[in-house]
Symmetry: C2
Subunit: 385 residues, 2 copies
């Protein structure tokens, strides 16, 4: 229940609502983190995650939020004096810059306006002109709904000495990822977005090209974040330091659910539901904020019409319906609303999202022709044939 006793509905672009069977998995008894029972859990989880990330790498687990593994990725690959080229078109690109500068390293940026895509064809030129250890990108910029074309970025980086470091915290599990084929060298993600788990677990997957850099020890991660230590432990079905067991139990359950649905079906559901929500909301007369060619399937970001304050919409959702959607905590505050379309959501969820948005807009004085939004949403929900 919410504080004012409405049934609570979590519709953020993360953390996302956790299905009951995953919540029950969290409650499984804690066992020895270096014993055979837990090694089995780790082994199964480690196998089930690979197709989701599109990798044959052993995936390493950290007790960490998404930001922690972003910092870990940087700390492992960049040595003092190294420069990174960061693609910035939203809040999490900015965060990478802060992390890099916080480690006393240099971050040059290739920028695009928020919501647009960074021009991939400038990457190759930048790599020729500058001596970059890494190109750093955000797969799914959840602050704007823009998705980076990792395949194209990977092609631009692949033949250089630079490593491609990618944050897919809000992408993995809801967006296609082909780490190995696309040439992503360090991929990090976390449990609480499309992977349907609570927050608390960070994941990292590292290419051979990146291991060659990390193994020589030039990086700055010497203990907690040290990928070398984590890799040794992962090979034994362990983590370097005590594992966040409930989260691993939860992730295993989540991955079992994804594979039971069929991973391509999970992806198609994300695409279908996010497209339908956008269609419905656009029919209400609102614009999709995102202008990049690739739109997110895991979060929908809508621009507020003149005179409508996004924060008031968010408040109305919470106070009237008990539904928690997101505004913006960045420079877009008040200008956009963001609704998660990832994890365990269903047709019913987005129908309700639209109905509540219609109610909120109407309350705030935006008149909407009845039924238009629902019709567009339902049309988009129909399977194409």
């Amino acid at each position: 229940m919410t504080k004012n006793n409405k049934p609570y509905r979590l519709r953020l672009p993360g953390p996302t609502a956790v299905p009951e069977q995953i919540r029950m998995a969290l409650a499984e008894p804690v066992v020895a983190h270096r014993g055979p029972e837990f090694a089995e859990v780790m082994a199964e989880t480690g196998q089930l995650i690979k197709p989701i990330l599109g990798t044959a790498n052993d995936v390493m687990a950290f007790t960490s939020s998404g930001t922690g593994v972003m910092e870990a990725a940087i700390a492992n690959v960049l040595a003092p004096g190294d420069k990174a080229l960061v693609l910035v078109n939203g809040q999490f690109g900015d965060r990478f810059v802060q992390i890099i500068e916080g480690l006393n390293l240099q971050a040059d940026t290739l920028e695009a306006p928020w919501g647009e895509a960074v021009a991939v064809d400038e990457i190759a030129k930048a790599l020729q002109d500058g001596d970059y250890r890494a190109v750093v990108a955000v797969h799914n910029e959840s602050s704007t709904g823009a998705v980076a074309d990792l395949e194209a970025i990977g092609s631009a980086v692949r033949d250089s000495d630079a490593l491609l470091v990618v944050d897919s915290v809000s992408g993995a599990g809801g967006l296609e990822l082909q780490q190995d084929d696309w040439g992503v060298d360090v991929l990090v993600t976390a449990s609480q977005k499309a992977l349907m788990c609570p927050p608390g677990l960070g994941l990292a997957s590292v290419s051979e090209k990146a291991w060659n850099v990390i193994e020589n020890g030039a990086g700055q991660a010497r203990f907690y974040w040290d990928f070398r230590r984590a890799r040794e432990s992962a090979a034994k079905g362990q983590t370097a330091f005590t594992s966040p067991m409930p989260l691993i139990y939860g992730l295993r359950e989540s991955l079992r659910m994804i594979h039971a649905e069929g991973w391509p079906n999970t992806l198609a559901r994300h695409r279908r539901l996010s497209s339908a929500l956008r269609a419905g909301v656009q029919a209400l007369g609102l614009a999709v904020f995102t202008k990049s060619p690739m739109l997110s399937d895991t979060v929908c970001v809508f621009e507020m019409p003149d005179g409508i304050d996004g924060s008031a919409i968010v408040r109305h959702f919470y106070e009237t319906y008990g539904t928690v959607i997101a505004g913006s905590r960045s420079k877009l505050r008040g200008k956009v609303i963001r609704i998660g379309t990832m994890g365990c959501i269903t047709d019913e969820d987005i129908r309700l999202d639209l109905e509540q948005l219609e109610g909120a807009l109407s309350e705030l004085g935006w008149s909407v022709e009845g039924g238009v939004g629902q019709a567009a949403l339902e049309a988009a929900l129909q399977p194409a044939n």
Copy 2:
């Protein structure tokens, strides 16, 4: 169940068995980590933890293992060029040295043989001779069962410019802690030991003396571990980055349980059960490994007699009884066994520990007079009068 279908009994010195009502708390629905419902959970948890640590400070929460917050403590207080004086008498003192050196800082050590106490009267002299930013100590050295006399160490450090940094990962919740009175400047602990929760949550509490150092920004923690950022968030009932919600729910439940038992009673139970287990095992003819004046109430460490391999005892416990106790992962491997006496344990637990140890020793050829151990244990369990 264990892999060979015995009922599983977790008796490690952490992670410890998690009581069912805490496990159920982990499964509570995830909510918005910056919303009012979660702020209430954080506020209650933040109040309930203070008496356990003996502090009036706002306690900060991190998605982290114990090692992570140890690294965070160091990264926040030591600037490049700074030296720390580390008290080393076991594995976690060694770990602090590794962490400090990993950050390219200098760690001088005051050492004692493992299991003994570091001579507190050498600290004042060392502080006069060397220019130390911090004195670093382990409260409860779970590798050996030695407890540091933090009150005396605090007295030695208090009037110097140095900060006292303490790891009480395996102490807090089972050993008395008076952070403020004893002059502990940075105290870190974690969820999975005497606090009866699963692993995944690190906690840090910082004195005004330490804030004066941290706020000037000399430290190296610029983002994920930045205490300044964490402090701002804690004041709002939040964490700087997405909270590991299930662990916070669990910690709140754990603290409610401790306060329902009565915190002094919780401490007395740890003292009584650990003393009784030591008495019983000593009556079997085994020696307590720990030689420091202050013995741990949260872990009992026993020396193996000649010809008995500690690893074989650990294996016998697991294979025959389904009970997981610890040997050593350090230079004491094979020479000691370690049994956790922290968290939700009862008289029955230590009776069973002793019975199973008697069985294991007998199986490995150590003949024991029947009933002697149990008698000593039962005598020690009686309330003094």
